[in-house]
């Protein structure tokens, strides 16, 4: 069950403030990193939605974001549509494809589910790589950003673009919160805990899984479109399975099933990667080692661990006060 606890809200606000602070104090590369974190945070948020609350560990989320990116790029550069409309259509396209994948894979579980999603992700990758219409392995250039000049915002300025990404991330978070507290979300969590029971209660498993996967896909579509706008260039590389693997690592690093945890994880991961690569070319080793340590110490992730410790403390103090109260009986 998902509860937006005060700790989670606090962390979210802290993250938002931190991002705003960084946006106004960072130099150029700092803004690039910030934008990278914010877009990645959207992807891992979408992944936590299905993995943390639905038990559906997906290895195609990176590829789906890539689908969003390519849809946006094609609509913009080949059809000349307005970026805002393109973003909406890209989100819809990704949502529909995600629905199909969620529905098709709904009967598989565990490692089989992971592999099934991997298969679809790889199919998307191969399709894009081979397609000369989509630029093949050369990728597509000439992608433009949203035009918000009517509101006086110039998105070609790195700082303003970063702030836009922050705004979209917060909206995505609120959207996910809404989903999880709705009937669909609660059914999903119930399904994750005991699928047989859900089925016995007469719930439509396939639909629940597919619907949530689709909603997750909407977020991914937007994230992909923003990613395309950020770099203003896309290549099939975006759909490589290693990105989905990375997203999974981040979700665990941050805290599976907490919704805010993965966002923190994204920040930690990107910053860590950049810091380490300043010292060595072998940052894979360090990241691998850290992941192992995190998982072995309980796999609760950074935020998950904090939440856990605080909960334990509260429990202890509750028990203590309970003992206090009953002392004289």
């Amino acid at each position: 069950m998902f509860y937006q606890t005060s700790l989670r809200s606090f962390t979210l606000i802290l993250f938002a403030l931190g991002s705003i602070y960084a946006a106004f104090t960072a130099e150029y590369f700092g803004l690039e990193i910030l934008t990278e974190i914010l877009i990645l945070a959207m992807v891992v948020l979408a992944l936590d939605l299905v993995a943390g609350f639905g038990g559906m560990v997906s290895l195609c989320h990176g590829a789906l974001a890539g689908v969003g990116a390519y849809s946006f790029a094609v609509l913009g550069t080949k059809f000349g549509l307005d970026p805002f409309i393109s973003m909406l259509i890209a989100a819809l396209v990704t949502g529909v494809i995600s629905w199909i994948i969620g529905a098709v894979c709904s009967k598989t579980h565990g490692i089989y589910f992971i592999m099934a999603t991997l298969a679809f992700g790889q199919m998307a990758y191969s399709f894009v790589f081979e397609s000369s219409y989509l630029g093949g392995d050369n990728g597509m250039a000439g992608i433009s950003r949203l035009d918000m000049s009517a509101l006086g915002i110039d998105l070609f300025d790195a700082r303003q673009f970063a702030l836009l990404c922050l705004a979209v991330l917060i909206i995505a978070y609120l959207f996910s919160w809404r989903i999880l507290t709705s009937g669909l979300g609660r059914s999903l969590v119930g399904l994750m805990h005991n699928e047989k029971r859900s089925r016995a209660l007469g719930q439509n498993i396939v639909q629940i899984k597919a619907h949530v996967f689709a909603l997750s896909g909407l977020i991914l579509g937007i994230a992909g479109a923003l990613s395309a706008q950020h770099i203003m260039f896309i290549s099939p590389n975006l759909l490589a399975w290693t990105h989905s693997g990375e997203a999974l690592v981040i979700v665990i690093l941050g805290g599976l099933g907490t919704l805010i945890g993965p966002i923190i994880g994204a920040a930690a991961f990107v910053l860590l990667k950049h810091e380490i690569s300043n010292y060595t070319d072998h940052w894979h080793l360090v990241v691998g080692a850290i992941l192992i340590i995190v998982v072995m110490s309980g796999a609760r992730g950074i935020y998950g661990e904090i939440e856990n410790r605080l909960a334990q403390k509260r429990r202890k103090s509750l028990v203590a006060s309970d003992v206090e109260l009953n002392k004289d009986r």
Binding site: E27, Y28, F29, E32, E36, F129, E130, G136, D137, N138, G139, A141, G142, S227, I231, M232, F233, I234, S235, N237, L238, S277, N278, Y279, T280, D281, H282, W283, H284
Partner: protein, 385 residues
């Protein structure tokens, strides 16, 4: 080691210019230092550093390194950082053609000179050329163009072609096909294998064998080249179906891993360490002294010549983006490859090409130059600057 600027040890201490002054020329090196292309990135850098040591003595050059990871998105972010934050005067590097494509518009718009030291996509000095982008390595078509006529002159009439299925593979084969067929030959079959997904070439080699060709012409590089050459030999095809190709197939960087399978393979490339010239012999000796006896490869020489060109430009008075860009387009000198220059019409390098055969030299493998083909200049093909 990377982000912090490394003052390349070419500044004579007497001049004591360790503080970046207005005269310092800042170079942004964007190469893959991790991932699949790390070996190439390090090799190019080795050549570049040696070049600076050789030709940049006394010049005030500061290098800032960034890892492109051969990922277009990440490379573009790092390129923006180098240009907008570190404010480099010139950028160098780029191994992957996809990265070159990603960077092109940015570099052109920001008016920062970029000296490409590997990426071979034709379009970078063709339809997407820019007065700011110069290339010191090769273009995919350039390398293979003269091979068509040369192979025809050897008596070969029917060729089966194979390459990995991505832009470079297509460009290399197409360029060979054009000249070979113009000379009167026939490419009777072409197979494009899934790029970097093919480990076992058995199925394709079987097709080549039954095609009835006189010879096979291929382009493969890196790990795929090693697998391909070894498997070609294991099927015993070389006797009846000699193997030809682009020199990357048997590059000195990794030919050792191919072992005796590489013997007898004839390829065309813009550089081999056995080119017999005073300039090259000196280059090879110095390189070997620094790298445990390992001979330099075509990747190292690209870095070396780029450094040479940069040094020439700076000595000629260029010290900012605009002046470096215009000077680089006009360089010409004699390097380890021979006489080279940048063609102002495309900004691609103009260089001689060498057909060589990989031969055994005791336990080791070496390259025997069979022919030096005339200097190859790319046609404009859509470039207008």
């Amino acid at each position: 080691m990377k982000k912090t600027a490394i003052a390349a040890a070419i500044t004579l201490s007497a001049l004591n210019i360790s503080v970046a002054s207005a005269e310092t020329v800042k170079v942004g090196m964007l190469l893959p230092y991790s991932g699949v292309y790390a070996a190439l990135g390090n090799e190019i850098e080795a050549g570049f550093d040696l070049g600076l040591k050789e030709f940049g003595a006394g010049l005030d050059i500061e290098i800032v390194k960034e890892d492109s990871e051969a990922d277009p998105g990440k490379a573009l972010a790092k390129a923006r950082k180098l240009v907008l934050q570190d404010k480099v005067d010139v950028m160098s590097g780029i191994v992957s053609s996809a990265v070159a494509g990603a960077l092109r518009d940015f570099v052109h718009g920001a008016k920062v000179p970029l000296m490409i030291t590997n990426a071979g996509n034709d379009s970078v000095t063709g339809a997407s050329c820019s007065p700011y982008i110069s290339r010191f390595s090769f273009s995919n078509s350039q390398i293979n163009r003269p091979m068509g006529q040369w192979m025809y002159d050897q008596g070969i009439r029917k060729v089966f072609a194979m390459a990995p299925d991505y832009t470079a593979g297509h460009e290399m084969i197409d360029s060979f096909k054009q000249t070979f067929e113009a000379a009167g030959g026939q490419v009777i079959g072409t197979e494009y294998t899934p790029f970097r997904k093919t480990k076992d070439f058995g199925p394709y080699l079987a097709k080549a064998k039954t095609s009835g060709a006189d010879a096979v012409f291929t382009f493969y590089a890196g790990g795929e080249a090693i697998s391909f050459v070894k498997q070609y030999d294991s099927f015993g095809l070389k006797a009846d179906l000699p193997l030809y190709g682009s020199g990357f197939l048997t590059s000195p960087l990794y030919v050792k891993a191919e072992g005796s399978a590489a013997v007898g393979v004839k390829t065309v490339l813009h550089y081999v360490p056995t080119i017999d010239s005073e300039v090259n012999n000196k280059f090879v000796q110095e390189f070997q002294a620094l790298h445990e006896g390992r001979a330099p490869s075509e990747f190292a020489v690209a870095g070396y010549d780029a450094a040479h060109a940069l040094a020439l430009a700076i000595k000629g008075g260029a010290n900012d983006r605009a002046s470096i860009a215009s000077s680089i387009s006009k360089v010409s000198f004699t390097g380890p490859r021979g006489a080279v220059e940048i063609d102002p019409a495309t900004n691609n390098i103009v260089q001689p090409l060498y057909v060589y055969e990989t031969v055994a030299n005791g336990e080791a493998l070496t390259q025997k130059v069979l022919a030096q083909l005339p200097t190859e200049r790319d046609p404009a093909s859509g470039c207008s600057m």
